[in-house]
């Protein structure tokens, strides 16, 4: 079976890979581009650990084929920090200790960034609904929500 050639943009950089049509975008990010931030938790779109944005839209990369990424703009957790300078969300996650084992954290950060870009002033309920597709197996939800809400407040003050 011949592989398919894909050209896409990941975190602002144009990249190319060859993939089998059955491989998911998550497989391609991790195994071909060595971007291992996105995790495979469930592989069925339930846990959100593989969250990325595609043309600005939050999706599970396990529910999208690598070949579908052709010509798209992909953003992953690796693109959130600016070099060594952490994004305000990342700083707050450290400050609030909003992670325990850390497997869900890349997906939560991508999803939370997507939320704040769409809605800079979410209510706690809106934040909880938005992040409902990001499961934390350590059940540390409260600190995650507090970190997101505080980041939102800080970003609003800064703007």
């Amino acid at each position: 079976m011949s592989k398919l050639h894909v050209t896409t943009t990941v975190n602002g950089d144009e990249v190319e890979y060859l993939c089998d049509p059955r491989e998911t975008l998550l497989d391609c990010l991790r195994d071909k581009l060595n971007l291992t931030g996105a995790k495979e938790g469930c592989g069925t779109g339930d846990c959100g650990a593989c969250s990325v944005t595609v043309d600005g839209r939050l999706v599970c990369s396990c529910l999208m084929l690598g070949v579908e990424a052709d010509g798209k703009q992909i953003e992953t957790v690796e693109g959130i920090a600016d070099g060594d300078v952490l994004h305000p969300l990342q700083k707050k996650f450290i400050e609030y200790a909003a992670l325990q084992c850390g497997v869900c954290t890349p997906g939560v950060l991508v999803a939370a960034k997507s939320l704040l870009e769409k809605n800079p002033d979410p209510t706690e309920e809106e934040a909880r609904y938005w992040l409902a597709g990001n499961l934390c197996r350590c059940t540390g939800y409260d600190k995650i929500i507090r970190a997101v809400m505080d980041t939102a407040a800080e970003l609003r003050e800064a703007s």
Binding site: P21, T24, G45, D46, R57, C60, V67
Partner: protein, 288 residues
């Protein structure tokens, strides 16, 4: 698995007609990829319809009706400034499916073609009188939503046929629709019972109605007896009781740990009443 991304529905149809083995069309992929990954269904031919012109468009036509492309996602429906004003029931039903991430990919057409009796958007579409444009080897035909599912995981579409557009009728004056479901938890679960109601008022009296039930039979049901129970009434208590009785009478559910036959049958009546009240309030122009 061969992957194709045709540029037209005619080409998609021809690919499917000439393919051997298992063929699947790929829209949002939230069911197709899960089935692929779990090795439930491994297609020999996968036809991605997202590169066809117009499949991402939400269009209000001159007569007030709507045409939705088959790759329009739940998130795009919810974000549309006008669609939810005309058809809040259809939009809220789609919006109940899955997480933010799933909403970014999932489509009405995929929800329908997956063939689940518990698909949330399907009762809402049936109540709204939605039709599908179906493109096949012989051209394009228009099919009512309720004529697509034939049983769990099965549809009436034949080899070489692909849904090419979703057609939602004009809302018109004094109309309202709603969808509600029962699930054992508060969010992100599969319906144990779902009810869609769409109605039009003449003053306080219901002039027309369509009532649809999900998850209580092998397919989503259009329940004409339930509509008859409320047409000609102002949705008074007697009409609501008749509606509930007709909805419960139409049930032929499975019995499982998520809901027994008795429970699903009872809840279908209760939810039919609640959903009809919301649709009625919306038809009166009230917030509900």
């Amino acid at each position: 698995m061969d992957y194709h991304s045709p540029a037209s529905f005619a080409e998609a149809s021809a690919l499917a007609e000439n393919a051997t083995g298992i063929t699947r069309f790929l829209a949002g992929g939230t069911d197709v990829l899960v089935q692929l990954r779990s090795e439930l269904v491994t297609p020999d031919t996968l036809i991605d319809i997202k590169k066809i012109d117009g499949v991402h468009d939400v269009t209000r036509n001159a007569d007030g009706s709507w045409t939705l492309g088959v790759a329009v996602t739940g998130a795009e429906m919810s974000e549309h400034p006008e669609l939810g004003r005309d058809w809040p029931g259809v939009v809220e039903a789609m919006d109940l499916i899955g997480s933010t991430q799933v909403q970014g990919r999932a489509t009405l057409t995929g929800n329908l073609c997956n063939g689940s009796p518990a698909a949330d958007s399907v009762p809402a579409m049936v109540a709204a009188g939605v039709t599908l444009s179906v493109t096949g080897p012989g051209g394009t035909r228009e099919v009512a939503v309720e004529d697509i599912p034939t049983g769990p995981g099965r549809t009436s579409l034949v080899r070489g046929e692909v849904i090419s557009a979703v057609n939602i009728p004009a809302r018109g004056e004094n109309g309202g629709d709603a969808y509600q479901r029962f699930i054992p938890r508060t969010e992100m679960d599969i319906a144990v019972v779902g009810v869609g109601v769409n109605l039009r008022l003449d003053g306080d009296t219901i002039a027309e109605a369509r009532v649809s039930l999900g998850a209580v039979a092998p397919t989503v049901l259009l329940v004409k007896d339930a509509a008859r129970a409320i047409v000609g009434t102002a949705l008074d208590d007697a009409a609501l009781e008749a509606l509930a009785a007709a909805a419960s009478a139409a049930c032929n559910p499975i019995d499982d740990k998520r809901g027994t036959i008795e429970f699903r049958t009872e809840v279908a009546g209760v939810l039919a009443k609640r959903t009809a009240k919301v649709a009625y309030a919306r038809a009166k122009g009230e917030q509900a």
